[in-house]
């Protein structure tokens, strides 16, 4: 059975906020050192991914293929620095490995690769596949009578891919209440704002009409994230659960926030220093 955390809420939130800062630092640091990567979408997902890895997910860094572990699929694979930082800080591999991001022979590929990185449950990078993979994992959980949750983090631009909606129908058909999709609703994709490139209307209404339970949260308010994730795993329904998280692309680095150009660009030295100063409050 799952334990409900008995950590006092105040210290829990403080702990997670500090951890998120750490993750943000490593995201910017590794992308700067690689001089390549996607900071915007990694920073928008940081608070959510931090809460999952440092609180919610039942995982064992010493046993990455533990059959009872909760699964995490980063469907928007380009945001992998957020996952790499979390995995390193959890102890799946040494933090020093983060310096090898995107370099030849590294365990940290440009996009997540299951067979190269301990703790990565599935390869991603081509958008729009993660939710289908999550359906498969949730079905596997049922077949093996395990009580693990499968979390899938999806970009709002990524929802343009029709395959998401094929997966949404399948998840509802099979009553996959062990599947939790989280939408990183930062309102930007690669060419511009989602409302201009491909308006998706109300994502909550769409998932609801496909037969999902839908929750909404502020993806940068740790208390709201914790309460919502808690609620999601306590819902006693037979529906898959979608959490729409309102977020800001580039969150935490003022000059990256809401700016299209920071989708897939590395900071230069000066930008790096300013970013680190903003995240840590002290110089790099």
């Amino acid at each position: 059975m799952r334990q409900i955390s008995n950590e006092p809420m105040n210290s829990r939130i403080e702990r997670l906020e500090a951890e998120a800062k750490n993750v943000r630092f490593h995201i910017v640091d590794m992308i700067y050192k690689a001089q390549s990567g996607h900071p915007g979408g990694a920073l928008s997902a940081t608070d959510i991914v931090t809460a999952l890895y440092f609180d919610f997910m039942r995982i064992d860094p010493n046993n990455p293929s533990w059959k009872d572990r909760d699964r995490f699929v980063l469907s928007k694979g380009h945001a992998c620095p957020v996952q790499y930082a979390s995995l390193a800080l959890k102890g799946y591999f040494p933090i020093a490995e983060l310096d090898t991001l995107r370099k030849f022979d590294s365990i940290l590929q440009g996009h997540p690769v299951k067979q190269k990185t301990p703790g990565i449950d599935m390869t991603t990078g081509s958008l729009g596949h993660g939710l289908s993979i999550g359906v498969g994992m949730a079905l596997e959980g049922r077949l093996t009578q395990k009580d693990f949750f499968t979390y899938v983090l999806i970009g709002d631009g990524e929802l343009n891919e029709g395959q998401n909606w094929e997966a949404a129908a399948a998840a509802a058909k099979f009553s996959l209440h062990n599947l939790i999709a989280i939408i990183d609703r930062n309102r930007l994709q690669m060419d511009g704002f989602t409302d201009e490139i491909m308006p998706m209307g109300s994502i909550s209404d769409k998932f609801r009409s496909f037969g999902w339970d839908v929750l909404e949260m502020d993806g940068h308010n740790m208390l709201d994230i914790v309460l919502t994730l808690e609620k999601a795993r306590l819902i006693q329904g037979n529906k898959p659960i979608c959490i729409v998280a309102q977020t800001i692309k580039g969150k935490g680095v003022s000059f990256m926030e809401n700016i299209r150009q920071w989708h897939g660009k590395a900071p230069n030295e000066q930008e790096y220093k300013q970013a680190i100063l903003e995240i840590k409050g002290t110089e790099a």
Binding site: R102, K103, F104, D105, G110, T123, S126, Q189, M190, M198
Partner: protein, 319 residues
């Protein structure tokens, strides 16, 4: 050779804007990577002829089929991995089968998207799209040929797939060169061996030829920019002269140009020593482009080795 100031993807899209001024019929569909493929330039110049379809490549290509159903020329744009795989059935059954006037701007061919890793490296694209009836497949090696191939693709009826590159490489051609479906250019003359190649590998091949010249080996380099159909005449004339052939491509060996060339030569009973440079049934990985090329046996250094061993076989056959 002059270092290129722009990648082929940019040269192609810049020419698209120029060409669009006099040719007002064609439209452009993009899948949310318009700043990377540079089609946003076309969107800026001709907003009513530019449709950003979002991250939905299959939908984009089937939409293109609808737009092209009465003959309108349509350019669709994305990365090679997504066009050749995500949208593959739309391409085959709804564009190639009805032989519609759709042109594929396919960027980041081969391992040129090296740093993004295997998920973004289009290393099977030529094999996949070359197998479709009606499809023509082109790959310019520099910005001059990229611009000319934009014209060529729109002036050729039916589906045309154009493989473009992420990084600026080297300028090979000047404006006097012309390009055609089923064409190629001998970019370096030689007498000992024929090296057939395309795209970014033209530069690696020319480098290899220079390195071998110092050893007294004379390599003829053919830029087979038309991958389907290939230029049989130029190929045969060269092979008859040299008596040995190597194909070098930034692609899986399987079903690439390195299958088309020996297949043709075998069919006409032209038997010569042959070697093939390409990915050897493996996925590549993230890293610096040149480092990845070298690690997977695609660099100039690796080509020289393959040529030397092929020449050794040629000598053996002669004795």
């Amino acid at each position: 050779m002059k270092k290129a100031t722009k990648p082929t993807r940019k040269a192609f899209s810049e020419r698209m804007v120029e060409y669009g001024k006099d040719h007002t019929d064609f439209v452009v569909l993009e899948a949310d990577i318009g700043y990377s493929t540079y089609t946003h330039l076309f969107g800026k110049a001709f907003p009513s002829r530019y449709f950003n379809m979002g991250i939905a490549e299959a939908n984009m290509v089937s939409t293109a089929a609808g737009l092209a159903a009465d003959g309108r020329p349509v350019i669709v744009s994305s990365y090679g991995v997504f066009l050749s795989m995500r949208a593959v059935e739309s391409m085959r059954t709804y564009v190639c089968y009805p032989n519609l006037n759709v042109k594929f701007l396919s960027s980041h061919g081969g391992v040129t998207a090296a740093i993004d890793g295997a998920t973004h490296q289009a290393t099977e694209d030529m094999a996949i799209v070359s197998s479709f009836p009606n499809m023509k497949v082109l790959c310019p090696a520099d910005s001059v040929s990229a611009a000319k191939i934009l014209d060529l693709s729109l002036e050729t009826p039916g589906p045309v797939f154009v493989r473009l590159m992420r990084d600026p490489l080297y300028e090979i051609y000047d404006d006097s060169y012309t390009f055609k479906i089923g064409g190629s250019h001998v970019v370096r003359q030689g007498s000992d061996i024929t090296l057939v190649t395309y795209g970014d590998m033209v530069f690696q091949s020319l480098e290899a030829a220079s390195l071998l010249e110092e050893k007294g080996i004379s390599v003829e380099v053919i830029d087979m920019y038309s991958i389907k159909p290939i230029d049989k005449e130029t190929l045969l004339a060269s092979v008859k002269k040299t008596g040995a052939v190597v194909v070098a491509e930034n692609h899986q060996k399987k079903n690439g140009l390195g299958y088309a060339v020996p297949h043709y030569l075998a069919k006409i009973d032209c038997s010569v020593p042959f070697s093939h440079i390409g990915l050897d049934d493996t996925f590549a990985e993230s890293g610096d482009y040149l480092q990845v090329l070298d690690a997977y046996g695609l660099s100039a250094r690796c080509i020289t080795k393959a040529i030397e061993s092929t020449l050794a076989r040629k000598k053996k056959e002669l004795t």
